[in-house]
Symmetry: D3
Subunit: 255 residues, 6 copies
């Protein structure tokens, strides 16, 4: 079975940089897969894309060795299983607030007896190899989002669920549920403290920590603090910023 | 009828900055339409997109006052007319090498008696208004690509075709047909001389000059030389470059 | 932030006429957006359309000032949030039968602390403006369907949920659960009585009342009774009826 | 092989009413196929649709015995052959202005030795039956558009081309090329005279006459004059008119 | 209303052979509908397809008298109802493990008072006829998957739910939850015994038994044991095997 | 630049087996790419697919080392160039009947000065590598269809066109233009003689010979005669035949 390169890097103590896909386009995904991101996450929660397009995006990513991930729109076993069958090598699940949420999520990603994933890895076997059924449980990453007050309170419960590989911090929702107004790259001391507590807990439970960020600087800072999986913006935000920069540069140089 | 803002700006002696769309996605097009490009060109020649997606892209662009254009894949009346019916406010036509090519192209964009465009502006009337049939010929921009040795030799013939509003320089093909190897932002003295001759001819014929460029600096230089319509890269190239920059910035700051 | 024109009209005591979209086509949606409907509702419950097409339909509607709404297929937070992120300015939710249903629904439409909507208004910010996060809770309409015996019994509970803006009567399901056979434009005295009780309750709770109808006459009657939001048929039913009329008219006049 | 019901009706001296499809939706096509149109024409010239969607529309039409036709965007053999292979039972070809145009068109619809259609009726054999290759030439309708001054001048040449089954009058283009401003349902005496001459010529050559109309009354009048194939408006125009009528009817009845 | 031919055959004691659709293509579905399968099941659980494509697949199947079914991805009323509205004549529901699961499933397929299906059979009325609302409950097949230890333990509870027409055995999941490694065409004596117990229970409760198989031989064996609904492989597996056979045959004959 | 494996095999005197794609599905294409075909040809002439889907099919094929080819619908430079830009490593062009046809075709596949291909290998550079512009002319296969009496008469003219790599025999059209009725696997002595003459001419001109066949046996026979590129049926025909076989096998074994 094809290795999951993220797990290899993390096991060696390294970190990986993740691209975030909101554009519903297999060509956009293929372009992104050639830029050096170690993984790409197709976002079903806030991206404007759907399953049918996502399958073509997964195919496009599969033309490279970039690791394909998806964030599901909900802790929904059907959605999770369909994306795994389509060849995702990991799932980011929103709104994991307690042990029951985490168990429901992790169970959907594992075959019996470890979980309750239904058998039918239609495209996954093309992508990963004929021995996928035997080894999938070792390679599929489970990443629970920590993004509410409740989740922070239940951190130890969540992090101790067997089969949970990683957590992913959603700064906007986390900040909102704490009553803050910052939406990414949190710098409020209170929130920085929350982030530090989360990182500390992941170290204690030997679970990988990941986070969405709005800038390379913040991403690097989080890696330096111990995060091993960092996202920097999303495909369309990168394109939008580059567009504005290009236009401004022309305007500035026309005499 | 809704005005064509490009024509207004050009008539005032101003220049406009054009975005270039290769991504087959209405959401990508809508994002681009919010960044400040005065027009967006859907490229059917080298973009990986098709007519059905282009219609949704035109709708997305129409949520703003960005002017929608298309480059057709060929000097094909059917393709040109279909895109005009879908609401494009201008057509960039490749491989216009002589007067006959230019007449064929311009005629496809104009209703009788000025041309031979077939009547049926299905979506164009929603976009532009109920009086579109009466005024379309005034608002639809015709832009012929100058991209071969032959076209340069026939410049005066081409530029004197009645109804031709503008030309668009394709630097890669132009350079290749002259035997060069540069593909954009041409700096070879021989090619710079060709560009200057083209600009000079457009001034003489009172036709707007446009060009594809690979950088804001080159685009600004061309505006300073008299070009009134400049493209800077394409949607996916901007996204790709911004991705590589972000990744490099993280790597550089991780200790 | 772009105003929600429905809320403005309702606040002034006026009524609005809503078009109903079952056709999975952005061009059909754009045509409908130009006919004078104050709002258009994309129906995920009984329409033959999906999320990806709906995004292009929302873009098409956004080329006008018609207000875009959606009926979700279920009281599903994930589906609700995805449609709000895509730029819907209101959600009609089926099967709201008690207070818990209503709270679950309204909470999915509001950011913390008013609800539990996750942050990520990807397209909504393009449509509504950069200050969408700050003002969205004021502009997004929540409309609960009243369509069962149980819902009628729990009307006061449902209508007193904080943040519920309106209710929408589903006559077919309402009639069926009461054991009737009429499916729209209910005239059975027993059902007319139920409708009157619903209208009376909405007045008491200062909640807007809406209803699906099968004819302009019934819609007008409901407005005269106090409804402020009326749907008349659906896109394809209008097209089908007009087709049959045209064919019959030809047959009648051929000699 | 499945019969072509239009040919049967025409052979008996009858007329048929044709629906016109601009909406890119298989569901819209299926709805239209259930309303009583004897045939439905998918319009590639002025409709906002493409080949991939058209295939699904042809499948939807095939759930009924409505005859599927297409108007191509141009006298293009490749486009014509692809639509025939997809199961169209007739082609309306724009801009047939002389004998050469007509021969090029008819030849593309017939297998050798009658024409030069390439062999590969992929979906047509599913729709029509396994003996399609043997009998296709008898069932596929060829319908040339007469829509220019030049075509009217060359009528006898065009109508005498072997294998041409019918002509289709495009009133808007016809009127425009004659210098008129009417776009459908022509009533200018000069144009009425042109129409009468066309009808007279078709009778003389034993070729069926068809026409696009904007109203049932005009369609019936043309049938009474001898046309055997009449279109009344298009899918979206019927939907748009019905929408405006419904809205006006509500407004008129609200007190 | 159009009859459900499966119910007719089963009532006569006969069996039917079912094709399994994973390919997201209406053309693939139409091809399959012409090969002799009595029914075709669109698989949302493990197929790489989505609702929008499924609608076109249902249209393609409707060009023949093959019975259209769907397997849903989950025991989700919204998904079930949407597929019934789109014209499915039966639903296979995964993970029905106890009476509550079965009641939830069956209720979603039946209108009040037999169930809680919401009214709006948009495409179903085109497919089945105008009297669909009256007779749908008689024609729509409910088929619960038996695929876990728990389901086997609760067989009598499940099979006695009013309105359940059939069960469908999922051999891979069944085997996995029993701790086995076989994934289809189970031959382990322990599993054969489980299958026999399931068949025996269906006979006792007068419920039809169905099963997925990986070969014609196993399917025939199951029919001989009493199964009345057998699937043999899936569309793409048939295509893949035929491809490998063709390639091997060429290699074997080249000298 | 990524090698073209077909050219390598042919240069060594070997033959390759080609799969033929008519199904408009990237998943079907990915399945086919895993079965052992050395190349896969996306057929735009008789397949029911379009450019947008073809791009996703090319991406799917690119997840393996199967060589992606396309047959265009016509000798159309625009269509040819768009498919090359999308990453095809070879083009099969129908209806090449004389030297002019062949030159037009080959020129569209080669950059200046060898031809007139326009520069813009958008996806091709992702697939093949950054040095694609420099080496593309060496790797892109040009394959002209020989399928008419005229082409056979002009064989030497066609085969001597510089840059033509291969020819592909279309047996159905070839047979039809010769007045025959066989459509593939031609056995009429007259046609066998024609095929032998074609093979002989390709040997003389050092051009590779290819052919479409309907069976492995015929394909092997043609290889034994010298063909180096053989197609065996198409994706959906393989699926259809395997379906009928499976159904028949069940019927035969049920007692």
């Amino acid at each position: 079975m094809r290795e999951n390169r993220l797990l290899q890097t993390w096991a060696g103590g390294g970190y990986t940089i993740n691209g975030w896909l909101h554009l519903p386009s297999s060509f956009a995904a293929e372009v992104m897969a050639h830029q050096g991101w170690e993984s790409l996450t197709i976002d079903f929660q806030h991206g404007v894309l759907d399953y049918a397009t996502a399958v073509t995006m997964l195919q496009a990513i599969s033309t490279t060795d970039t690791v394909p991930l998806a964030r599901v729109s909900w802790n929904s076993p059907a959605e999770i299983m369909r994306l795994l069958d389509a060849g995702c090598y990991g799932i980011i699940c929103p709104m994991v607030n307690n042990r029951a949420d985490a168990e429901r999520f992790v169970g959907a990603c594992r075959y019996p007896p470890r979980g309750y994933r239904s058998f039918g890895p239609t495209r996954a076997m093309l992508y990963a190899g004929a021995d996928y059924p035997e080894f999938a449980d070792r390679h599929v990453i489970t990443m629970a989002m920590i993004e509410t007050v409740e989740a922070v309170e239940n951190l130890d419960d969540i992090l101790s669920v067997d089969g949970l590989d990683a957590i992913y911090i959603g700064p906007a929702d986390l900040s909102q549920t704490f009553g803050g107004t910052e939406r990414s790259d949190l710098t409020e001391p209170r929130m920085v403290d929350v982030l530090d507590r989360i990182l500390e807990a992941t170290r204690r439970h030997n679970v990988v920590a990941g986070i969405y960020t709005g800038s390379a600087a913040y991403a690097a800072m989080m890696v330096n603090k111990g995060a091993q999986f960092v996202t920097v913006q999303s495909d369309w935000r990168l394109m939008a910023a580059a567009s504005r920069d290009a236009i401004a540069a022309v305007r500035a140089s026309v005499t």
